[in-house]
Symmetry: C2
Subunit: 504 residues, 2 copies
């Protein structure tokens, strides 16, 4: 992987002085063009060997371009525990907006590589983490991001020479730390592991760009040229996309007659008497109250997702749950139209930012499933976008579960007849009228298309770790109790498993 | 302060059962009305004695209203060090958006009260902190926030009775901690300090509402009634404001002939030769590079504010500074139109969110001074709004300095003639054309009004701790060096003071 980066490339000072001003003017132009298009975020990863010029290159990029639209973030190798949020959370928070440039030092590669080199993590875990990174980067590319992955390489002898030179210079001696020398002793392992990481994550959409780091002039111009080319390609691609005649909003796909099978075959008739309801509600709420205050919850987060047709009873059900919780530790997030800051980010960004830390609960009233429901049915995104949504969602949920989150998702299933009854009731009740809008009636006309989308959603996103709970909801009393009981059981189970593990 | 909250108020179960459903329906309606108006955020502070029903009341509010539009946040008494950001930073992050409700447990009162009760902080510091809180709350009210400050009180004997009852019940025993008993021993000091705090911060716009906490029914209905009344008053006030004929955009105030005195009398003729510039630039940049990497910077943040007429050279000057810094530790924030999330918050919110932690630098290209410059001149806000801006800005900057921030603000002063020359040059240079817009020409016509606003701004916000540095900028080389030198000197001075203090 690094053979051609130990050749000893150099660029003479004179050549540098000639080429640098031309390059920086072109970079600045390309940066402004991208900013104006506001279509693609540019994500530059800076990784590589210590002393190979990572910091210097990042500083140069900021110097050459307009730093007001560049966000630079450095990630330490040690992964801090962000209150127990999933591993990728901190990277999501650092993503640049469309049109902007993000420079990420260390990025999502440092931690897995160092953990493996230092022997904290075995090969299997290392491979898994690389696989997850591939997923993540594929998503970024699909969302239009330009991903530039720079790897600055230094041969062992070049690294030693560089460290010694720095240490001799009083102004720069601080740059060389004890850790640098320790890591140099592990040079061979480091190079082996890095080669593996780079090979496994060098993809067509986001290849690694290995640059020899010994000569400052060579490494600066090489990185700069590659950056320029990537920016210009992106500007051109965005311009082409704009010039192309707008694709007509996709016609709703024909609904196969068998599609609604799952929901049509469902038993909606289950009921519960008011008397049983009151008794069960009191009992389950106090069970949940005790569970949610269990000391073991300090190493879990709880995420509840509510989806369902309009008037399926999402709001009234989730309130029966939050009544049992301590308001200081939960948050209900209603999903409506995204804000403009959210629109400037990949689709899942606005859900990532809401994820709870350990000891906390977030209840989503509608959720990331909007991608494969309303956005699909209404044609708000392309077919390719919602098709990749299933996989992205599964990965997103897996990452939460891996971080200790208890994640439950409910489809509140009602019949079209029951929905009509509830709409009419809302229309007739003065204080419920705000709950019914023209949109609701319009959505109702698309019932078959929604049912089709729901069936696909459940098929493709009901996994072992995060199965869908489809709840018969024509009877509100029945559905509230069913949901509450499921929440209690799942939390109890998660705490017990944890306990057993702890004892083993 | 608490006499009338030890009377032993009670409400019978029967009365509670009758009044509660009426109250909750009315609360829900008021909540939705406020949400739809999206004018005023509602901030509910819940403070008081341990065991007086704070948590229960917060939970009830969430139960009675729609929890999807309520954000509840609990603040521990111990103030965590948010990477060295100012004390109020974490409260700014928790403010609800316009139309939403925020419930803040503990809020900004817990920490000063407990620090004083426990003897960690003397009376003088306690009084100072309360004064700052008054400032903060005055700002919130001026921004249209509805502020409800609830204090739940319990007599010493009632507290003891309550703790004992809870401890006997296995399900609730966890609610009583050792700290609760320790604090009960300090009951008298606690009550004395709280009385002082409440008296000093009970203002016309945000009075304290002391509620006896012993009887759950009494405290719930009393708090609920007060909340309802406050919500309804706010809804009515917003509706009235909307119904009133729109006030015409304020005509620009006549410019007193002497107003531009400050800037007119300024010496713009200072120049620097290219040769001197090059030498000084190299010397100052390396001085700043070393300073900014000094270990003592770990307990300081650096905030640089650049203001000036269009084409005054803000961008090119700040780049000369960032070139000396490590990109991993600085961020440049260009201030343009606010995003919709920012528009839903008090004016200063979007600057608070950008404040750097210790060891980091934020450079603002235009800043919070927009309030008293462009917003004033263009009539984007009312006169009352920009008038209170001076005081709010001074307080904002004081809080930063108190937290260890080195804050420098530069007015890049150019003459109207020089601006015209630069505009024409930009128009004539192909790669600079993007820098000149119709807005720039329009702003130029308002030069006298801007000059007047600038003079007022400098008069009213040049304080001992954060003086304005007015820099002659007709000659770009001179102004860049002047700014760089000032940054070096101020940073050096701050580090030296720190050092001396440390030795003392």
């Amino acid at each position: 992987m690094f053979e051609s980066a130990e050749i000893g490339h150099r660029i003479a000072k004179k050549e540098y002085r000639e080429r640098e001003p031309v390059l920086r003017a072109a970079l600045l132009n390309a940066q402004y063009a991208l900013l104006e298009q506001a279509k693609a975020p540019v994500i530059i990863l800076i990784n590589g060997a210590d002393g190979a010029g990572k910091g210097e290159t990042g500083n140069l990029f900021n110097e050459w371009m307009d730093p007001r639209h560049i966000h630079t973030e450095a990630f330490d190798a040690v992964d801090p525990d962000h209150a127990g949020r999933p591993e990728m959370w901190r990277y999501w928070q650092a993503l640049p907006q469309k049109g902007h440039i993000g420079i990420l030092f260390g990025s999502w590669y440092s931690d897995p590589i160092l953990a493996h080199v230092m022997g904290h993590e075995k090969k299997a875990r290392f491979t898994q983490r690389l696989e997850r990174i591939r997923h993540f980067e594929r998503m970024l590319s699909a969302e239009g991001a330009v991903l530039l992955k720079f790897w600055f390489h230094l041969s062992r002898s070049a690294a030693r020479t560089r460290f010694k030179a720095l240490e001799k210079d009083p102004k720069n001696a601080w740059r060389v730390t004890k850790d640098d020398w320790v890591r140099l002793q592990h040079y061979e392992e480091f190079v082996t592991v890095c080669s593996q990481a780079l090979r496994k994550t060098s993809t067509a959409e986001a290849p690694w760009r290995v640059i020899e780091g010994a000569d400052p002039a060579y490494r600066a111009l090489t990185a700069g040229d590659q950056l320029l080319e990537a920016l210009q390609t992106a500007v051109q691609a965005n311009a082409d996309a704009r010039a192309r005649p707008t694709v007509q909003r996709a016609a709703a796909a024909p609904v196969p007659s068998s599609a609604s099978g799952l929901l049509a075959s469902f038993d909606y008739s289950r009921k519960l008497s008011r008397k049983h309801y009151e008794a069960e509600l009191a009992q389950l709420q106090s069970r949940l109250a005790v569970l949610s205050r269990d000391a073991r919850m300090a190493s879990h987060a709880l995420v509840l997702v509510f989806e369902g047709m309009d008037a399926a009873g999402k709001g009234s059900t989730l309130r029966r749950i939050t009544q049992a919780l301590d308001a200081r530790h939960y948050r209900v997030v209603p999903i409506a139209a995204p804000t403009d800051e959210e629109r400037a980010q990949p689709y899942l960004w606005r859900f990532w930012r809401q994820l709870p830390g350990h000891g906390h609960t977030t209840v989503f009233d509608r959720s990331w499933y909007g991608r494969v429901l309303v956005e699909r049915v209404e044609g708000f995104c392309s077919e390719a976008d919602w098709m990749r949504g299933y996989d992205e969602i599964n990965t997103f949920e897996e990452e939460q579960v891996r971080a200790g989150t208890i994640l439950l998702k409910f489809w509140m299933a009602i019949t079209a007849d029951e929905q009509l009854r509830r709409f009419n009731e809302r229309k007739a009740t003065p204080y419920k009228q705000f709950k019914i809008t023209d949109d609701d009636w319009r959505n109702r006309e698309k019932w078959p298309a929604y049912e089709h989308a729901v069936a696909d959603m459940i098929d493709r996103t009901s996994t072992d770790v995060t199965p869908w709970h489809v709840v018969a909801s024509d009877d509100k009393l029945f559905s509230r109790i069913a949901v509450l009981r499921q929440v209690c059981e799942s939390v109890e189970q998660a705490l017990t498993v944890r306990k057993k593990k702890g004892r083993a």
